[in-house]
Symmetry: C2
């Protein structure tokens, strides 16, 4: 399973969404072609992605929707619930707490941490904000995934505290690169970078800047 690429896993997530949708519509079978169309890829790619996990499909009949959906659900670890700690009760953290999609997917935010004394002890979406100094005790809460929504300055330190507390999966919303030991899975959601990449593209389309000579620096 070490051979499964990150891009295959991402496509599995997307297949799962499509399967969920057609399952809700009551359809029983789906072709690799239909799964492929939605992703803008070839049906051969779909079959290759799914073949990593066994033979789900039958030639000429396509895939059984309910069965394939359950298999991918299990492969992605969505057939169980995950205990999540959120670190950072600021703008992003509050928005994430308000976002109910996490729980719908099986990710339960069971603890929230901050280091601002003004926030510690406050109630947010039914949880009492804990002192970030108590992060080492996250292990006793059975935390498996840490979500980092701190200012960028604190993010690396928080990642290290989470790892020290035994957390093996981190979702980082702070707009900076984090360093974690091997064996810890790190994923990043960087709205800032996506937005800036968008405004860059729009600005370039409108008023291309001249290219100036490259110059040396330290």
């Amino acid at each position: 399973m070490g051979r499964i690429s990150e891009s295959t896993v991402r496509r599995l997530s997307h297949y799962y969404r499509v399967l969920d949708e057609v399952h809700a519509e009551g359809r029983r079978m789906i072709s690799s072609r239909r799964l492929a169309e939605r992703e803008g890829i070839t049906s051969a790619q779909v079959r290759k992605d799914l073949s990593y996990f066994g033979s789900f499909g039958r030639r000429g009949l396509g895939y059984n929707v309910a069965h394939l959906r359950e298999e991918i659900r299990s492969i992605l670890g969505l057939d169980r619930r995950w205990r999540v700690a959120l670190v950072g009760a600021g703008h992003i953290g509050s928005a994430l707490l308000a976002y109910r999609g996490f729980a719908a997917q099986g990710f339960d935010i069971v603890a929230i941490y901050d280091r601002d004394p003004a926030r510690i002890g406050q109630k947010l979406s039914g949880l009492t904000v804990l002192d970030a100094a108590a992060l080492p005790a996250a292990a006793t809460l059975g935390i498996e995934i840490g979500v980092i929504a701190t200012p960028l300055k604190a993010a690396q330190e928080v990642a290290e505290a989470l790892v020290a507390a035994g957390v093996r999966g981190i979702l980082n919303f702070a707009p900076r690169k984090l360093f974690v030991p091997e064996g810890v899975a790190l994923r990043t959601v960087d709205m800032t970078v996506e937005l800036e990449s968008l405004s860059f593209a729009l600005r370039q389309a409108r008023a291309p800047r001249r290219r100036r000579g490259s110059g040396p620096a330290e």
Copy 2:
């Protein structure tokens, strides 16, 4: 400028964050080495990224923080404000409206659309939710960027309505691939996929599944 890769633009966003931080600390100069360390890349890569835009640095002295910060700010289109329409007033949409980071970066959500009659007309963060059927009129509001936070079924249709209304930049939060014409910049923030990629990694680390034979399908 067409040669600038997406990954360079993303690094520029990160350099901008670092520069912002050291600028706030009152530092005047920064070396390419320090910028590189934060990104886990080489200083040669930093100099190459910055050389696309001209010679900002002086050999042996590094870069002037205030100057380089302003240059990158302008390159990324952050020295102006952008008018943004948010489509979808559900969980993600409400969380995005509550997130004040957008405005801090120059992105003003000036209109919000939904097609649920129960939501149309409601006030959210000071904005009245408009009928999504009115999206074609977004052009008259001077909308430049559309943020899609709809259920996945509606996302493609909304993207097309935004493009028809003259929007040239789309930030998609719906967990599915979207298709837009050339000339329209599309960026995706997919929390769902990142979370599922994380639970996949954790599940694999804990209980590796056996690899089964690959099988044919339709």
